[in-house]
Assembly symmetry: C2
Homo-oligomer: 383 residues x 2
Amino acid sequence: MSVSAGAVSHERLCAWAYLSAVVEPPAPASYGFVAVHGAEIAADRIRSGNVPGAVVNETAARREHVCGAELLERAHRSGIRLVTPEHGEWPGSRSAFLEGATEVGLSGLAAPMALWCRGNVSPEAVSRSAVAVVGARAATGYGESCAAELGYELARSGTTVVSGAAYGIDGAAHRGALAAGGATAAILACGPELDYPAGHARLIARIAENGLVCSEYPPGTPPRKHRFLVRNRLIAAVTDGTVVVEAGLRSGAGNTATTTDTLGLPVMAVPGPVTSANSSGCHELIRSGKAVLVTGAPDVLELVSDIGTARAPEREPTPRPTDELDEVSKRVHDSLSPTRRRTVEQLVHETGITRKSVVTCLSALEISGFVRCDDRGWTRCDQ
Amino acid sequence: MSVSAGAVSHERLCAWAYLSAVVEPPAPASYGFVAVHGAEIAADRIRSGNVPGAVVNETAARREHVCGAELLERAHRSGIRLVTPEHGEWPGSRSAFLEGATEVGLSGLAAPMALWCRGNVSPEAVSRSAVAVVGARAATGYGESCAAELGYELARSGTTVVSGAAYGIDGAAHRGALAAGGATAAILACGPELDYPAGHARLIARIAENGLVCSEYPPGTPPRKHRFLVRNRLIAAVTDGTVVVEAGLRSGAGNTATTTDTLGLPVMAVPGPVTSANSSGCHELIRSGKAVLVTGAPDVLELVSDIGTARAPEREPTPRPTDELDEVSKRVHDSLSPTRRRTVEQLVHETGITRKSVVTCLSALEISGFVRCDDRGWTRCDQ
């Protein structure tokens, strides 16, 4: 499908709107049909039923009932624009992930026909540097605080935080990114004007004001269980990797993680208390090797960056002054007390080190200020 | 070094006691010297200084000051027996791990000369099926509860819980095993009669009554920092694997984990909140691939068992009745409400599935009791 930056005619946009609504995604056969024939011819032929059997199966149910112009009008009233593969805004390189997956026979991962968008940021800009942060709706306080912290730190580093606007982890990740004044994008499983879930209407509005709210479902499409799973493939494909913050053993986040892995992108998971059922999905992903354990944004950025561009800071413990001592000197130092004096003979017996070595060690330790002696014996200087 | 089950003469036991006290472990040269010449000849030659240079370095400091008979007498008064490589009680196959490590040049991992033991269980019996549970002294309530639970469940499964009797994770693991009425063993970094730390005197006595308290250090040896690190190699070598429950970035538990890994045995770590510094060592072990994430005893038993003898129960989420439905039937089921009736035409448009398929699905779903219909339309039966 050719990508050009120019404007798309109203007729052609109507054809794209029709195509986006006539199918229930994923629709691999129709997607391929449009790629071959172009939007307008494909729309005409689908409307008249003059299409191959696989396309009939994906389009027969709605072909006579959808009107592209009406959908565009409705979208326009809600401040929603339609972004198609012909727009410069299209996340072409990321949508290619899904095209590749479809070509190897993963038809459930077909690319979206088009994207209905709210907000000034383009899907293409979002996809340039983005991380998905996903997880349980019924999250714990611990999970929400991890998600908010991750959202904040990722956004602060210039990474777009992509999630699904759900309660729990999704909402906390979006809020963290907004708090950092950074970019965040919500991909919905219903029409982008629907503010689902209702309790997140204000949050979704803020995301649209500062980033992007988008959906492959046209205005008016209600959320349905299977649409969340279908939507999850877009969250995985548009980002450079997926972080699961909290998830039970059976979860939508686990589904996003599987898709991320199928697409060859890094899957990450945040650990938590082993006593928390909300972390059991994360632990299973890590234990089975499907996800890499991450404890914060530096770990995530290291994994999603090209090699060498971002390295998590080394987790070096604080050095101690005695670190530089050799094993024998450490043993002598160790056998001294800060208060009770010890003779060389006592140290020889205590350490099991020869008299000559003990004397040599003590001299070197005294010069470095680790030990001191007076006429009654040796003591340790605590530093 | 030959292993026989018979009694060892008092003279020879005195030689072993002398050898165990004359060196500061690890003492690879002396260990090798004893293996070649036998305990009595080796002891005589060490006492007179008639030994190779490497053995001189390990023995010159104490060779004139140690008396094996006195040590045995002192041990006897404290209810401590000396177990040597000549006893049937010797954990021969496990001590071989350390001999192997020494042979490949890891002289810091030399096998112990002998073991001073309190309690009726033999080191050999301990080593038959044992897991090390180790971690921070300044543990959190979360860590202690994980360690106690692990200790309890491992002991209940017939596995000996081995640790170092320290405050925090060690103590909790021993207590868990004792609570299960199972076997537990403490390996100390000081003379085995010393009840270190003092606050664990009662716990150590209970371990000795129900299991084993042992040390390579003869009675009277005080604990020293380096002795804890040296002791840790025995905890690693005598067990089938090491679980780190809580550890900071710099910890003795991390040292035990490294030794376990060097010996080719499984290293496991329990995750925790990413906000807890006490879990950061565990997370780093998992993240770097040095340890496998474990959430409880079933995970541990699966990893330390011979393949196939113990499998962690599958973490299968609870199945739902709709799991058996195909994707198309799920989509139809999903679009129905338990209360509001829908017509076939509404379902066709809502799902994007052809009329023929919708009707076929509805019939099958009705027979299975998933949906019902009356003259006004179709509803979902919630199960």
